[in-house]
Subunit: 430 residues, 2 copies
């Protein structure tokens, strides 16, 4: 009997990284006034999928009838249950409501485990709802920035866009496109970074029958960023949207302390079609572009109208915890506990425990032997765990209030009194 | 459309407490060399309930057929999936394996929400497997102790027992009891603290038809603790078990730094019948005895034989996170974020963000206005959130590198430069 296909056991080395990600993002979120909340893993099936949505998502929902005959399902993201939460508690919550939530979600899709795609995976979402305006957008993107920076994720780029601007560029050069063709063009544009300019050019020509020169002009415009000849785009709202995007970017930089090259405008970012109605963003790790975006999101005009009688706008981001963990695990493989205390005489156990207690209460992690086996076997255990130093305590050490410290790499040992020990361990923890 | 009956939305005030419990227990566990791990929420139904178990548990399991026709269920505790985990990864794990795990479990029982019993609730388990011996027992109980102490749970008592000793006491005074009556007597004894001496006495007399005097002698022995006339108990192993219990208690005190009255032997602790084979323990909060035990556990001779071909002994404890959270939430209702930054001029926003960034990067939590509304409305928001101080930044403050600090209780305001501000906030965070 083993675990279900597509599901993962989180071994200590992996779980350690996942925990650190959650802990850091929650800490950074709380520093910015985001409040932790959670919703149940199970919801009414109708809550999860609504009445109309007949897309791919439905097939992926774990759906069943519970013991009370209710049609229920496991949450497949942290957004839909949050919408139900906001609607249900709208009179208790204080708006603007800044939430942060982490938790597992479930999708019965074909697992691609080697690519880090499982049927159960962890997300960490943060949103500000009940408010419109670039400052909320900036706060959300800045939280993504400070979290990744605090995690030591290496160099990364956050790319911002407002899809309405991209739409306006396409429309001006190809005014006769119908809605279906327009959607296809936007989807093709979104692949620019992934498949390259030539393939996107070919796709758009096929979709639109446009002249190659026109498409080339479009693609050139999309990469101009803040050099855009805005005066030519007088359509309703486009210039305003552009100004807002530029000023949101400035606010993000002020709030996060990020450098201009780390937070950029990229008019080719589209991110799906239905959901977002304002700013959208994606985050790429310089050293792991193949992972795709590790943190994405955007602004939506309405979260809750399915559940409540008035709309509620918001902006949010989501960190792919498992995806990010793959990168961080590859980066740092050192075990979190690096010390062990070996006890080689039963009579020394009480002294040993006092030493361990002192260290632990000073924040130092130390694994104490509980096997009662001989020193050789205790050292073998320490070696397998990857511990760097073993403190050895026998009756001699107990009588003289000392410990013998063995360096696991060199095999050298030295006897230290407890004061000296503190100094050594402080060094080890630097 | 609302949430399912028996399930809870975790509002920020509650989730904050849950998070703190998990964070502290994980931190204390890691300091003692426990390793974080996790298993999927879904398992094969047969993994969860085995072939023979036809008890109450089965009816409570959320069971369904997944999209691939598999018979699956939601985990109802963190022990059974851990047994599957240990068996499946026995060649990768390093024994003794010390695990710590937190997560939600699911039981389709009748919810009693006012008593904190939900269909989905959070557990935090820690175990040491692959080892026998009192030192592992002591490490597990010491982790319970240090966690509750670090959480500021107030005064508490950890009560220890080895059920075999209780069994020997009963058997000596009532040698003719059959197995069924013996189980009933043990269950009656376990209720001693809850229902009182008189009712237990009456129960046992009814079950056994014994003389009242004999039962009175039994109940007197059960409360003697370490004054037990051991010489009269020469049955195989009883004296050894008693010695081991006494020495485990001493190890717990050495390892945790606890006082003798905080870790006691209580021969009336039984804790169910089938599972534990050595030490058992329970933890009662002095100020919230009505909650029942907030952390319980014990030693088991075998965890994995259902899943593997050799047994694996261990010892473990489990913290009832939701139950403990009810107590801690009642205790401390202060919001984690206590500061807000109000921005009263668009031109001051960049300066405001820099102030917020400085504070946050020094570990101070501050909620920044993102509404863009007037000061009055921003102050109203701060009041509703329970924030204690509001830093107000307008163009005057931006020009002079100052902030106006408003005390929300008294309404007084003072203008501080950024250096002074640091001092004030340090005070606030003490």
């Amino acid at each position: 009997m083993s675990r279900l296909k597509g599901f993962q056991d989180l071994m200590p080395a992996v779980m350690e990284v996942r925990w650190r990600i959650i802990e850091v993002v929650v800490q950074m979120g709380k520093r910015s006034g985001f409040k932790l909340m959670d919703t149940p893993t199970l919801e009414y099936y109708r809550t999860l999928v609504g009445d109309n949505d007949l897309g791919e998502t439905i097939k992926q929902v774990y759906r069943f009838t519970d013991g009370g005959g209710r049609d229920v399902g496991l949450r497949f993201d942290l957004t839909v249950p949050f919408a139900r939460f906001v609607a249900e508690h709208q009179h208790e919550l204080i708006f603007p409501f800044k939430r942060i939530q982490f938790g597992d979600v479930f999708r019965g899709e074909k697992p691609q485990m080697e690519r880090g795609r499982f049927r159960q995976f962890c997300q960490c979402d943060f949103d500000i709802v009940g408010v419109d305006g670039g400052s909320a957008d900036a706060e959300v993107v800045a939280l993504a920035y400070t979290s990744l920076q605090a995690l030591g994720a290496g160099e990364f780029t956050i790319a911002l866009n407002d899809r309405q601007i991209t739409l306006a560029l396409v429309r001006r050069l190809m005014p006769k496109l119908d809605a279906v063709a327009m959607d296809k063009v936007l989807i093709a544009i979104d692949k620019l970074a992934k498949v390259g300019r030539e393939r996107v050019l070919a796709s758009i020509v096929t979709i639109t029958n446009a002249q190659v020169a026109a498409v080339e002009e479009l693609l050139a415009l999309l990469t101009l960023g803040d050099q855009l000849p805005l005066s030519e785009y007088s359509q309703a709202g486009v210039q305003e949207r552009w100004q807002r995007l530029v000023s949101t970017r400035a606010e993000i930089l002020a709030m996060s302390g990020g450098q201009p090259h780390e937070v950029v405008i990229d008019l080719a970012i589209v991110r799906g079609l239905g959901y977002y109605t304002g700013i959208v963003f994606e985050t790429e790790l310089r050293a792991a572009a193949e992972l795709g975006s590790v943190c994405s999101g955007g602004r939506y005009a309405d979260l809750v109208s399915r559940f409540a009688n008035k709309p509620c706008a918001g902006v949010g981001g989501s960190i792919g915890v498992d995806r990010l963990a793959m990168h961080l695990a590859a980066q740092s493989a050192s075990p979190p506990t690096t010390l062990m205390l070996a006890v080689v005489a039963t009579t020394a156990r009480e002294y040993a425990y006092q030493v361990a207690r002192d260290l632990r209460s000073n924040g130092i992690a130390i694994d104490v032997d509980v096997s009662g086996k001989g020193l050789k076997q205790q050292l073998r255990y320490a070696h397998r765990q990857g511990y760097r130093k073993v403190l050895i305590v026998g009756s001699k050490e107990a009588d003289t209030a000392t410990v013998t410290v063995r360096d696991m790499e060199t095999g050298t040992e030295q006897v230290l009194d407890l004061q000296e020990l503190g100094g050594i361990l402080a060094l080890l923890h630097k």
